[in-house]
């Protein structure tokens, strides 16, 4: 397997009146060709901003200040806006969280998809219209010819998310980034969308990055999982490793605090005390140290680096010297 | 159970808004200009060696000089003294009109928005009617039809009581100008407040207040209105500027403050007639009016940003 995307030392700051606040602090991530990577973290951990920075869609006042993101031999962070725009449509597809507001309400959905094709692929209008119907069929929309003529408000949330996926696939991307695409959807619809993306990934031979806060959801979807906490990757491992041998104290606590259908009713859940730090108020050293049951004074000295876990899959890496020491012992 | 703790740093919504406002240079400039003009309006006429009414036909239409900083007008009156008194007129009218209009608008808009139903439909129907009548026409009609009877009534009262207050024609002017301008200004405030109240009244904290059993009066005054005020404060700031422009416009057209009481509007009107020969008579009041209006708008913009910081609900 070759690496499709290599992010090294990515750092993102929010410009604020009080001075810059760091939201992403030197993240390293690799996405292999044909792989699906799950990025898991709580709100404010920087998981969405990391991916938005790759395609130049960071909101105002938020900027990638250091690092590189090599994609197809080029550094995405150093590209001109024009070049990024071409990458965005054709090589990297994006699906957003809220299907209700991500479609233009005054353009028929077939035309919205066709517009991207005309612009990105230089298709003629009739070609694009045919391709748009094919894409709608690809994402499992029944009666795609009729649906292409529909307005966004005539579609349900699940159907709109399918349209968003069709638009994300319009340029035949090598990488599809899905930013919490099912958070706004009901559980039965969520299951449909997860199935669809899993199926499309295989059929179109894409890489998928799925951003989520839901560990259970990602279990059935990802080949590898990166757990983010307060702008750093704390654990990065193949999916089975994460669930069988969660190593970082944060990953373990996160898994323990998940209520499950098989769990014991009415019992107290193991929970992590406190809340994740706000951007700009990150503690020194390991950001999880203030909430960590294993924390020692040395944890506040330096931000720990990702290192392989001895005795595990070589791809299993964790940013916690304490658990690595224990694994050796 | 471990307790969650917090620090003791002082805080407050208004303190934060004030801090943000202070960082906005244009808004601070606007605030300074407004304070300056208010100060001049209050104490200026006492400091000036000239009375705004005293005529001196020897020094008619003089350009600015050391003795008359902004020159004199066609009756030899000091322009600066008249401008300073005009500032009083402008601020009195602006504040009087805005306070009246806001009071009517907020009461009707808040009650209409909060309770809905037939009263809401009636208020909205009434604002629509008021807003559909041309403003200028309304003011002219009110002034033209009421000025005469009120003056006659005041004259009669004076003869009856000999109370000098009934001889004060400026008072009639102000009451009529306040009244007619408030009448055309309140619907905008009513609509704004109603829209705000409609969006606030279904927020969970309002429903929570209902679930706590609190009365409608408490819910409206403590939960709904304080949260509907932000846009109103901005609108009031801009509205003060607009009221000044309106007052000037009406005085310019002769339906506002009657000469010889100075108003920037009637000064502009007088200056316009002779501006080719004595441009200072037009430029001075027009410039002051423009600067003050712009100052109010800068302040309004600044307040808008200070009260609705981006990225914070």
């Amino acid at each position: 397997m070759t690496a499709l995307l290599e992010i090294r030392g990515l750092t993102i700051d929010i410009a604020r009146d009080e001075g810059p606040a760091r939201v992403v602090d030197g993240i390293d991530l690799t996405v292999m060709a044909g792989e699906s990577l799950g990025i898991v973290g709580e709100s404010g951990c920087g998981k969405s901003l990391t991916m938005l920075s790759l395609v130049g869609l960071l909101p105002n006042r938020i900027r990638a200040t250091a690092g590189s993101a090599m994609f197809g031999g080029k550094d995405l962070l150093k590209m001109t806006p024009g070049a990024l725009r071409r990458v965005r449509g054709s090589e990297i597809g994006f699906i957003f969280q809220d299907p209700m507001t991500s479609l233009n309400p005054v353009i028929r959905i077939g035309d919205q998809i066709a517009e991207a094709l005309i612009y990105q692929k230089g298709m003629t209008k009739p070609q694009a219209a045919i391709r748009a119907v094919e894409l709608l069929a690809l994402v499992g929309i029944p009666a795609p010819e009729d649906r292409a003529q529909a307005w966004p408000h005539e579609l349900s949330g699940g159907m709109r998310q399918r349209v968003m996926i069709a638009m994300g696939l319009a340029g035949h991307p090598k990488l599809l980034i899905a930013d919490e695409p099912t958070t706004a959807l009901d559980v039965t619809i969520q299951a449909q969308i997860v199935d669809l993306v899993r199926d499309l990934k295989t059929r179109l031979n894409m890489s998928v990055v799925w951003i989520t806060h839901d560990l259970a959801l990602i279990a059935g979807l990802a080949d590898r999982i990166a757990v983010l906490y307060a702008g750093t990757v704390v654990e990065d491992a193949p999916v089975a490793e994460i669930f069988d041998r969660p190593t970082h104290p944060y990953t373990r606590a996160l898994l323990d605090s998940l209520p499950t259908l098989a769990g014991e009713a009415m019992s107290r859940l193991p929970s992590i005390t406190g809340t994740p730090p706000e951007p700009g108020r990150r503690p020194p050293g390991c950001p999880f140290a203030p909430r960590c049951p294993l924390a020692q004074p040395a944890c506040s000295d330096a931000v720990p680096k990702l290192a392989p876990v001895p005795g595990s899959d070589p791809r299993h890496r964790v940013a916690c010297p304490i658990v690595i020491e224990r694994a050796v012992a | 159970m471990t307790m969650i703790d917090t620090d003791d740093r002082p805080s407050g919504l208004w303190r934060d808004a004030w801090r943000r406002l202070r960082r906005n240079r244009l808004a601070v400039a606007g605030l300074f200009i407004i304070f300056g003009v208010v100060l001049v309006a209050v104490i200026g006429p006492w400091l000036s060696p000239y009375d705004f009414l005293s005529q001196n036909l020897d020094v008619r239409n003089q350009p600015p000089s050391a003795s008359h900083w902004l020159g004199t007008d066609d009756l030899g009156r000091d322009v600066l003294a008249r401008l300073m008194f005009g500032a009083r007129t402008a601020f009195l009218v602006a504040i009087g009109v805005t306070v009246t209009a806001v009071f009517i608008g907020v009461s009707l808009g808040a009650v209409a928005g909060f309770f809905g139903g037939p009263f809401d439909r009636f208020v909205m129907w009434f604002t629509d009617i008021t807003m559909s009548v041309p403003q200028l026409l309304l003011v002219v009609v009110i002034n033209a039809s009421l000025k005469q009877p009120i003056s006659q009534w005041m004259e009669a009262r004076y003869i009856e009581t000999l109370n000098p207050i009934y001889r004060n024609s400026t008072l009639i002017d102000f009451v009529l100008v306040f009244g007619s301008m408030a009448l055309i200004s309140w619907p905008a405030y009513a609509r704004l407040v109603r829209a705000q109240v409609l969006s606030v009244r279904n927020r969970p904290y309002v429903t929570a207040a209902r679930a706590l059993g609190l009365t409608n009066r408490i819910i409206l005054t403590r939960y709904v209105l304080p949260n509907a005020m932000g846009p109103l404060i901005v609108a009031v700031s801009a509205g003060l500027g607009t009221a000044m422009v309106l007052e000037s416009a009406f005085s310019f057209l002769g339906v506002g403050v009657t000469p010889p009481t100075p108003s920037w509007g009637n000064m502009i009107s007088d200056g316009l007639r002779v501006w080719t020969n004595y441009p200072h008579l037009l430029v001075a009041p027009a410039a002051v009016l423009a600067v003050v209006t712009v100052a109010f708008n800068f302040l309004g913009d600044g307040l808008n940003d200070a009260l609705n910081p981006k990225g914070q609900k």
């Binding site: 619809i189 299951a191 279990a219 606590a253 209520p259 | 969650i4 969970p204 304080p226």
Partner: protein, 332 residues
């Protein structure tokens, strides 16, 4: 076991006007014929997808929405449809916690003011006792008294939700509706708030109506679970029973759609096709028949009756009975 609340035939229909000139009237049947007893001290959960009427149920029970029909008896007294003044004495006992932590507190009031308001209004403490009472309430939800001087915007989502719970407790209620109270929180914070709700239930003998869409959470906290679809209750059973032996085809589909935190879980779960129809024009007969894998002709014509399959386990379904349950499993 006594019923704290007896709910019979509760329904809520919203009138809508459609069309460019508001000339077409339509009715959204948000809740239809909802009947259940809520037992003192239990946690009854309502689950279902958006538009199923679970939140409407909570609002109608508390009279925050005027029900269109039916009866709600609190300790034997009818409260459905009471006006605000008549309802006020009951408000103390019946409280609610909302979903969105960012709009659940009045942004213009400090935490202390927000907690004091109901105490003073209902005369539950004197002004002198007030600070101590606020401190107690904050302690109940695991917060130090220093939070009393904070404004909501300075608090995290989880902290705000704690304050919202403290505010509900301020009235010393018997019954709290938790309307998606933890849905908007981060995973690590959800567990904290769930634990807090469990602790408070024990400490004050509270009864909860827990409204949620996350079945794993519901499984964890409930004594009994009701499943709703398009404004109707479709299945009601003790939590263990419902999750171990779901009978209604909708409940089964819902359970199978819940993602399992296990990368080796079989992928081919039983999928519901299609989406929830509009409550503006709900399907005739059983409202689930358009998506039901075992629908029969009868399901399209006749509203299924509410019946007990085993004691305490109720469903509304023509197609499932204990006898043909195995049969149905063979088809899936």
């Amino acid at each position: 076991m006594t019923a704290l609340l007896e709910i019979r035939g509760l329904s809520k229909h919203f009138g809508l006007t459609l069309g460019a000139f508001g000339d077409r009237a339509a009715t959204v049947r948000a809740l239809d014929d909802f009947s259940v007893d809520i037992i003192e001290g239990e946690t009854l959960s309502l689950v279902g997808e958006s538009g199923c009427g679970k939140s409407t149920t909570g609002f109608c029970i508390l009279n925050l929405h005027q029900p269109s029909g039916g009866s709600v008896k609190y300790k034997g007294q009818e409260i459905a449809g009471l006006d605000e003044a008549a309802m006020r004495p009951f408000r103390r006992d019946l409280q609610i916690v909302f979903q969105d932590p960012y709009s659940t507190l009045n942004p213009r009031m400090t935490i202390g003011e927000a907690l004091s308001e109901p105490i003073l209004f209902h005369g539950l403490a004197s002004r002198a006792e007030l600070p101590a009472r606020v401190t107690d309430l904050l302690a109940d939800v695991g917060m130090t008294p220093r939070f009393a001087n904070r404004y909501p915007h300075e608090l995290s989502g989880g902290q705000r939700q704690r304050v919202a719970i403290a505010r509900a407790l301020a009235c010393q209620p018997r019954f709290i509706v938790c309307d998606e109270a933890i849905s908007a929180l981060d995973v690590s914070v959800q567990a904290q708030i769930l634990n807090l709700l469990l602790d408070l239930r024990e400490k004050y003998g509270l009864t909860y109506l827990f409204i949620a869409h996350d079945l794993a959470v519901v499984r964890h906290i409930s004594n009994r679970v009701g499943v709703m679809y398009l404004g109707r209750l479709t299945e009601l059973a003790p939590a263990g029973d419902l999750f171990a032996r779901p009978l209604h085809p909708y409940t089964r589909a819902l359970l199978s759609a819940v993602p399992k935190p296990d990368p080796r879980a079989p992928v081919n779960r039983q999928r519901l096709t299609g989406e929830v129809p509009s409550p503006l024009n709900p399907p005739a007969g059983c409202r689930f028949h358009t998506r039901c894998p075992i629908a029969r002709d009868r399901c399209r014509a006749e509203v299924p009756e509410w019946r007990a399959v085993t004691p305490g386990h109720h469903i509304a379904c023509h197609a499932v009975s204990r006898a043909d349950k195995t049969n149905w499993e063979g088809q899936s």
